[in-house]
C-alpha cells in the first residue's frame, strides 16, 4: 500500500491516511491503523510467497513421477509453504491486521495500550521474515514445518538454523501483539463498555491473545533447544545421549496445536460480526458464543497429544488426549449452531462479506467434523500422516481462517480505505474461492483414506486421478485469490467514497468517519447499549 495511491482528495477531511506523508511517516508511525496496514502489506507479500510454493507443489504432483522438481526441492517447497503460511501469514493475519486496526476502535480508545511495542512487534516480524527469506535464497530448508528431531537437528543439511531463528524471532512479535490486546481490552474500554457489551470479535481476540501469550514462549524455547542441538551437535532430543525425539514433539505441539486456534478463533470473531450485521440480529446466545471462545482457548491447550497417537506415545496418554480432543469439538459445534440460529427471523442481505462468512461456516463445518476422524484413536491410526490430515487442516485453516480473513477485509474495507469495492466482483470471487477450495481439497480426503501419505514428492500411479483433480481445483482457487487483490487495489483509487457506516452496522468503529482520524474519535464515546442492538436501530439508518 504505497502512499502514492492515496493522494489527498480535495476537501478530504483529515484522516489517518492523509495525516502525514512520506515513507518515514509510515515506517515510524505509532498509529495502530497504520501499523495494521504495514502488516496488511507484509502478510499479503508472504501469502503470495507461500502461495507460489503451493502452486509449484500442485504442479509437481500432477505426474506420479513428480512433474517438475527433484524430491529434495519438493521437500523444501512443502516445508517453506508450511513455515511461511503458518508463521508469517495465518498467525498474524486477522490479529495483526484486523485486530490491530479494530481493537482500539471497538473498545473506543485512541490507540492500543503500547503503541511503541506495537510498532516494535511489526519490526520483529519483519526481521523474522527476513531470516526465513534468507534461508529460502540460501538453499531452503527441508525438515517440514514441524521440524521433527532427529531429522532436523542431526540429519538435515539445509538452512535449519536460519529458519529456526526466523520462527523464534517472529514468535515474539505474536507475543507482544497478544500482550497489547489483553491490556487494551482490560484497561482501555470506553465508559459503559462492559465485558458483556463487547462485540464478539473482541472476545475472540482476547481468547486468541491468551493463547499467544501462554503458548508462544514454549515454541520459542523448543526452537531454541533445537537450534542448540543443531549448532553444537549435542543431543537434546536425539537418542545419542539418551534424549527422546518425542519430547520435542510434546513441546512443539504444546504451542502448535493451540496455534490452530490462534488462526481460527479470530476468524470466528469476524464471522460473528458479519452475520449479526447482515441479518440485522443480535448473535443468538451471545454469552455462550463468547464463553465458547475462551473454552476453546483453554481446552485447546490440552489436546496436543492427538498429533502423536502413532508415535509410540503411551496408550493411556493417547486415550486421555483423544477424550480431550473430542471435548474441544463441542464449543466449536455450539458456535456453528448459534450462528445458524442467528439467521432465524432475521433480515438477511447477500453482500460480499456475508457470502464469505457463509463460505466460512460451510468449510469450517466440514473441517471440524473431519477432525473427529483424527481425534478418534482407531481411525487416526489409519489416517495419521496421510492426505486426510492435509485436507482436514486446510479446511480449517484455509477454508476457515482465510475465508474469515477475507470476509473481514471485505467487511471493514470501507472503514480501512474509505472506499467501496465493486460488490459483484467480490461476490464472484467468494463463489470462485469456495468452489476452487472444495475442488482442491475434497479429493485429498479420499486420497488420504486410500492411504496416500503426505509429503511425498512422487507417488504410486493409482493416486494420479485424484491428484490431478486437486491440482485442477488449485488453479481455480488461485484465480479466486487473485481477483480480490485486483479490485481491492483498484478501489483504493477509483472506488466510490464510503460513508462512515455503509453496512448500517452497530459497533463503535462505525461511529467514526471512514477512514477514521488519527485519534480515532473526536470525543471518547460512551456506550449505552448491548452489542448488536440492531432491533433498536432507527429504521432507514443508512
Amino acid at each position: 500500500m504505497s502512499t502514492a495511491t492515496l493522494e489527498p482528495r480535495v476537501h478530504a477531511p483529515r484522516n489517518y491516511l492523509n495525516a502525514d506523508y512520506g515513507w518515514k511517516s509510515w515506517l515510524f508511525t505509532l498509529d495502530h491503523k497504520r501499523i495494521a496496514l504495514l502488516y496488511l502489506v507484509s502478510i499479503t507479500f508472504f501469502f503470495i510467497v507461500g502461495g507460489s510454493f503451493a502452486v509449484l507443489m500442485r504442479i509437481q504432483l500432477v505426474d506420479p513421477q513428480g512433474a517438475i522438481v527433484q524430491p529434495e526441492t519438493y521437500n523444501k517447497l512443502f516445508t517453506l509453504h508450511g513455515v511461511v503460511m503458518i508463521f508469517f501469514f495465518l498467525i498474524p493475519s486477522i490479529p495483526a491486521v484486523l485486530g490491530n486496526f479494530l481493537v482500539p476502535l471497538m473498545v473506543g480508545a485512541r490507540d492500543l495500550a503500547f503503541p511503541k511495542l506495537n510498532l516494535l512487534s511489526w519490526y520483529i516480524y519483519i526481521v523474522g521474515g527476513l531470516f526465513t527469506l534468507y534461508s529460502t535464497i540460501a538453499g531452503g530448508v527441508d525438515t517440514g514445518w514441524t521440524f521433527y528431531t532427529p531429522y532436523s537437528s542431526t540429519y538435515s543439511n539445509t538452512q535449519v538454523t536460519a529458519v529456526a531463528v526466523g520462527v523464534f524471532i517472529t514468535g515474539f512479535s505474536s507475543i507482544l501483539t497478544g500482550l497489547n490486546f489483553i491490556v487494551t481490552i482490560h484497561k482501555m474500554r470506553a465508559p459503559g463498555l462492559t465485558w458483556f457489551r463487547m462485540p464478539l470479535f473482541l472476545w475472540a481476540m482476547y481468547a486468541t491473545s491468551i493463547i499467544m501469550v501462554l503458548g508462544t514462549p514454549v515454541l520459542a524455547i523448543t526452537i531454541f533447544l533445537l537450534a542448540l542441538e543443531h549448532l553444537f551437535h549435542v543431543g537434546i532430543f536425539s537418542p545419542a545421549l539418551g534424549g527422546d525425539p518425542l519430547l520435542f514433539q510434546h513441546l512443539f505441539w504444546f504451542y502448535s496445536h493451540p496455534a490452530v486456534y490462534i488462526m481460527i478463533l479470530p476468524a470466528m470473531g469476524v464471522v460473528s460480526e458479519i452475520i449479526a450485521c447482515f441479518s440485522r440480529k443480535r448473535i443468538f446466545g451471545y454469552k455462550i458464543v463468547a464463553f465458547s471462545s475462551v473454552a476453546i482457548a483453554v481446552l485447546g491447550f490440552l489436546v496436543w497429544g492427538h498429533h502423536m497417537f502413532v508415535t509410540g506415545q503411551s496408550v493411556y496418554a493417547g486415550i486421555i488426549f483423544s477424550l480431550l480432543s473430542f471435548l474441544v469439538a463441542i464449543p466449536s459445534a455450539i458456535k456453528v449452531f448459534n450462528w445458524t440460529a442467528t439467521l432465524y427471523k432475521g433480515s438477511i442481505s447477500f453482500d460480499a462479506p456475508m457470502l464469505y462468512a457463509m463460505g466460512f461456516i460451510g468449510l469450517f463445518t466440514m473441517g471440524g467434523l473431519t477432525g473427529l476422524f483424527l481425534a478418534s484413536l482407531a481411525t487416526d491410526v489409519h489416517l495419521n500422516g496421510t492426505y486426510f490430515v492435509v485436507a482436514h487442516f486446510h479446511y480449517i485453516m484455509v477454508g476457515g481462517a482465510v475465508m474469515g480473513y477475507l470476509g473481514g477485509i471485505h467487511f471493514w474495507w470501507p472503514k480501512i480505505s474509505g472506499r467501496k469495492y465493486p460488490n459483484g466482483w467480490a461476490a464472484l470471487a467468494a463463489a470462485i474461492i469456495f468452489i476452487g477450495f472444495n475442488l482442491t481439497f475434497f479429493p485429498q480426503f479420499v486420497l488420504g483414506y486410500l492411504g496416500m501419505p503426505r509429503r511425498y514428492a512422487f507417488y504410486p500411479a493409482e493416486f494420479q486421478v485424484l491428484n490431478v483433480m486437486s491440482s485442477a481445483g488449485a488453479t481455480v482457487l488461485g484465480v479466486g485469490y487473485l481477483i480480490p487483490l485486483i479490485y481491492l487495489f483498484w478501489s483504493m483509487r477509483y472506488g466510490p467514497i464510503a460513508e462512515p457506516n455503509p453496512w448500517g452496522a452497530t459497533g463503535l468503529e462505525w461511529q467514526t468517519p471512514s477512514p477514521p482520524p488519527t485519534e480515532n474519535f473526536s470525543k471518547i464515546p460512551v456506550v449505552t447499549e448491548e452489542a448488536y442492538a440492531y432491533a433498536e436501530q432507527e429504521a432507514g439508518h443508512e
Partner: protein, 108 residues
C-alpha cells in the same frame, strides 16, 4: 501497583528470611533424606518464590487480576509438565542404543 509505601524494615526482614532459607536448603542437601531431598529443596524454593512475589514484587497489595494472571501462568506450566509426564510415566521406555549414532550418517 500500589502507592502504599512499605517500611524499609519489612524488606530487610524478608531478605534475611530468604538468606536463612538459602542456608537451610544448602544445609539440608548434606543430610540424607532419600527422595525427600528433592521434595524439601523444591518446597524451600517455592516458599522463597512466594516471599519474593508477595513482598518484593508487592503482589500482597495488587489487584485480583494480577493474582489470577500469576496463578494462571503457574497452572499452565503445571499442565505442560503434567500432560507430558502422563505420557512418560505410562510408556515403556528403552534407553537409547548407541550403535547407530556414533557418527553422523553420510548422505548418499
Amino acid at each position: 501497583m500500589s502507592h502504599i509505601v512499605v517500611p524499609q524494615k519489612t524488606y530487610i526482614y524478608i531478605f534475611l528470611t530468604l538468606i536463612g532459607l538459602t542456608a537451610l536448603t544448602t544445609g539440608v542437601a548434606y543430610v540424607d533424606l532419600g527422595p525427600f531431598n528433592t521434595v524439601v529443596a523444591l518446597a524451600i524454593a517455592f516458599s522463597k518464590m512466594l516471599l519474593v512475589i508477595l513482598f518484593f514484587m508487592n503482589v500482597r497489595n495488587s489487584s485480583g487480576l494480577i493474582r489470577i494472571i500469576i496463578v494462571a501462568a503457574f497452572f499452565w506450566f503445571a499442565l505442560l509438565i503434567a500432560f507430558t509426564m502422563s505420557d512418560y510415566r505410562t510408556r515403556t521406555w528403552t534407553p537409547a542404543p548407541d550403535s547407530w549414532s556414533s557418527a553422523p550418517p553420510t548422505h548418499p
